[in-house]
């Protein structure tokens, strides 16, 4: 084969290597900011309004186990998960496990409109736990991509489990059982 072929081949190897190394270095530098907020990471400051008034904040986390799920009224998997969470709300007393469903309606829906939609959905389904509405900042802080996205905090406010996508109620309940049983 010709010398040109050899040079072109090594040029291809050099481009691939340069691309891989550069992407790898850039990725490594951003590693901590990639993906969802992970287990054991410091929980960022957040504050979302609740549809019944008041707020849900990071400062509320210590003292009891928290289950927080990000959802939207248009998301069928989220609706199924909210049904599962309602069953869990009936199983554990509110002073042991607090469930908060944070709405991320998206699609240009304002926080005010999302408050109305979320409240109507809560009333129609008879949900007995807190419903908040995110203006986008809390979801960004938690690295929420798709929904449902569910996180479990222990009594100290540490992030203990992250579920991306629809997971069974049994799996979430298993994690809650384990965290509640801790002293």
């Amino acid at each position: 084969m010709s010398r040109r072929a050899v040079i072109a081949g090594w040029a291809l190897v050099a481009v691939v290597a340069a691309s891989a190394i550069h992407s790898g270095v850039v990725g490594a530098l951003r590693f901590d900011r990639m993906g969802p907020l992970g287990v054991g990471r410091e929980v960022p400051e957040f504050r979302v309004p609740l549809v019944d008034g008041g707020e849900f904040r990071r400062a509320d986390l210590p003292g009891r186990v928290h289950v927080v799920t990000f959802w939207a009224t248009w998301c069928p998997y989220c609706r199924d998960e909210l049904d599962d969470l309602q069953a869990m709300a009936d199983r554990w007393p509110d002073d042991a496990v607090r469930i908060v469903a944070v709405n991320r309606e998206g699609g240009g829906v304002s926080v005010g409109e999302a408050m109305v939609m979320a409240r109507q959905y809560r009333d129609a389904k008879g949900l007995g736990f807190g419903i908040g509405v995110d203006d986008g900042r809390m979801g960004k802080a938690f690295g929420v991509g798709g929904i449902p996205h569910t996180v479990v905090f222990d009594r100290t406010g540490r992030l203990r489990e992250v579920f991306q996508g629809r997971v069974s109620g049994e799996r979430i309940a298993g994690v809650i059982d384990a965290v509640v049983a801790e002293r």
């Binding site: 050899v6 072109a8 691309s19 550069h22």
Partner: protein
């Protein structure tokens, strides 16, 4: 010469003199080029995505992270997989064993585009662009070299049929 050096020469040859290179290859040469191309594609185009997958697995620390990461990597390989099928169709029966070797332009285009993106020279283009442009380049080269690729003889099923 080692298999790696032969691979480098074949890839370079497919970039600068594809017809001559394809015509000169022996029957046994480049049989694994398709598999190597998948690895090179992942490294050259999707290293950042691989780091993201690792970050998600570390963050989630559960099976969801592993399965989601596997799905992401499978999705990253979709473009070369589909392109190989298109190349086999384009080359036709008896010449389709050169499909993997014809992926060389796709690797060059994909890695170059990813490099100019990550270095900020052309920061914003759709994520599917390297796959699409690379596939078009590979298919173009395959159609260009098609007539120069010697048709491979059918391999007999049993050794005694070889005579």
């Amino acid at each position: 010469m080692s298999a790696v050096l032969h691979w480098v020469e074949r890839q370079g040859g497919m970039l600068v003199a594809p017809r001559r290179t394809a015509a000169a290859l022996g029957d046994d040469e480049g049989r694994r080029d398709g598999r190597w191309a998948l690895v090179v594609w992942l490294l050259g185009v999707h290293t950042y995505d691989i780091v993201e997958v690792v970050a998600r697995i570390v963050a989630l620390r559960n099976l969801d992270g592993v399965l989601g990461g596997a799905a992401d990597l499978a999705f990253a390989l979709l473009a070369p997989f589909v392109t190989i099928f298109a190349l086999e169709l384009g080359l036709g029966t008896g010449r389709d064993h050169r499909a993997g070797t014809c992926l060389a332009p796709m690797l060059a285009v994909g890695a170059s585009l990813r490099l100019v993106q990550t270095t900020g020279l052309w920061p914003s283009f759709p994520t599917w662009l390297p796959g699409l442009v690379g596939a078009a380049a590979a298919i173009g080269v395959a159609l260009y070299v098609r007539s120069a690729v010697p048709v491979r003889r059918a391999v007999p099923v049993r050794p005694e049929e070889a005579s």
